[in-house]
Symmetry: C2
Subunit: 227 residues, 2 copies
DNA sequence: GATTTGATGTGAAACAAATCACAAAACACG
DNA sequence: CGTGTTTTGTGATTTGTTTCACATCAAATC
């Protein structure tokens, strides 16, 4: 049954990825051991939260001894499948798709975009190291590379159709850059990235803050007048 | 004082933008009136939540009469500043920056990237309708266009430096595509978009789901054996 | 080896968000 | 105009998340 599955990614998981990024950086700097408050400082949360998050995902350190960085990173890699290679397909080679296909961080994180797809045969001439195929070869590639996760970067008008096809061919998780809510079976993971919303949220909070600051200034003025 | 401000964008705000997108679509289809459950169906939430969200942002409809689409959209535009034009600057004209500079949805949502910047003078030859300046002209442009919000799409190594400069010149909100946590004063809004994390989250949940499904299958198998 | 110290890990408490449930309002219809 | 119906708007309740507090352990010190 197809429906809108509002699958929200837990904040605790997002924070875990923050911790990991910090750990990688600290390791490069030669640090070997961290404490919950080290990570807390690095990521702008409390040390309680770090420990609670680790607890949620069953990550354990050493009483009093903190966490050995290598040990911790290894544990995280196992739990979050970060060490294994992941084959990804990318659908839509417009501006955004092209940029994503060239995004070198994916490869550094063991996520390989093994192929990209586009309906427009002209796009298929463009290259970026990664082959661009027509949609007809989708199943073949997904099967051959055992792909489970896809990125949708097509115009909103065709996003649902593309999602349907991906799922029909065995895709189980989608990062969707098209500004539409995809209707999918409940056992398919959807993560929507809406660029306009990201900007509009910031604009809203900036305005809100300006209003508050404005009030503060008025208050200060008032106080100045009074005393 | 500079620090990591973990400014999380409320889920209720994200949902509001979903509602709005649905409203725009419904309006285009000729619909004039909606009810909380209309929007609920469209966006995969409950009607309670729709009303509660509206309540949080002081959006009111008509008892029994539902919501007049035009009226509702207008209210939203006012509250979330969606009708006013917003001038944005974009720093970093690498692959991602280029794609963002060409992203037509921004303009459709009244967000104009008035200028882009890059340290590399060669990038400044490339065009996309939007001028590419060297960083030295940042202040001039920010002042002239009264820019309050910026997009950072530079490599992580220079992201902090760029953020500092933006804030020094009056930028109050940043959408940051570089995979680093920016240290900024507490009255600056930061919204981080980390593409690797978005993918890795999906990969994690897909694995988790596969494991659960695996268990389900084993259970079914067990039941089959038993009876 | 006993004692102090410093950090983890996790129940309990506080807080926040989502859901429930229903009073209040407005329209429909007799 | 009064009664029934429908949908909003929001307190009350439940559920989920974060913070607090401390027992527990391991290292350091005496």
């Amino acid at each position: 049954m197809k429906q809108i599955t509002k699958h929200v990614i837990k904040n605790s998981l997002k924070r875990i990825f923050l911790y990991r990024a910090s750990l990688v950086r600290l390791k490069m700097m030669g640090v070997e051991k961290v404490f919950s408050y080290t990570l807390a400082n690095e990521t702008g949360v409390t040390s309680d939260q770090v420990r609670k998050d680790f607890s949620e995902y069953n990550i354990k350190g050493n009483k009093r001894g903190g966490y050995d960085i290598n040990d911790l990173l290894e544990k995280m890699e196992n739990i979050f499948h970060l060490n294994k290679d992941h084959n990804i397909v990318l659908i839509g080679m417009g501006n955004m798709g092209l940029a994503l296909s060239k995004y070198s961080k994916f490869v550094q994180h063991n996520m390989n975009v093994v192929a990209t797809f586009d309906i427009d045969p002209f796009k298929q001439k463009m290259r970026s190291g990664i082959p661009v195929y027509s949609m007809s070869r989708l199943k073949e590639i997904i099967d051959r590379f055992r792909v489970k996760v896809a990125i949708i970067a097509v115009p909103e008008i065709s996003a649902q159709e593309v999602a349907d096809e991906l799922i029909r061919h065995g895709i189980m998780g989608i990062v969707n850059f098209a500004p539409v809510l995809l209707k999918v079976p409940p056992d398919v993971i959807i993560n929507n990235v809406n660029l306009c919303d990201e900007l509009e949220s910031v604009i809203y909070y900036v305005h809100k803050l300006m209003k508050v600051d404005g009030l503060k200034n008025i208050e200060l003025l008032y106080r100045d007048m009074k005393y």
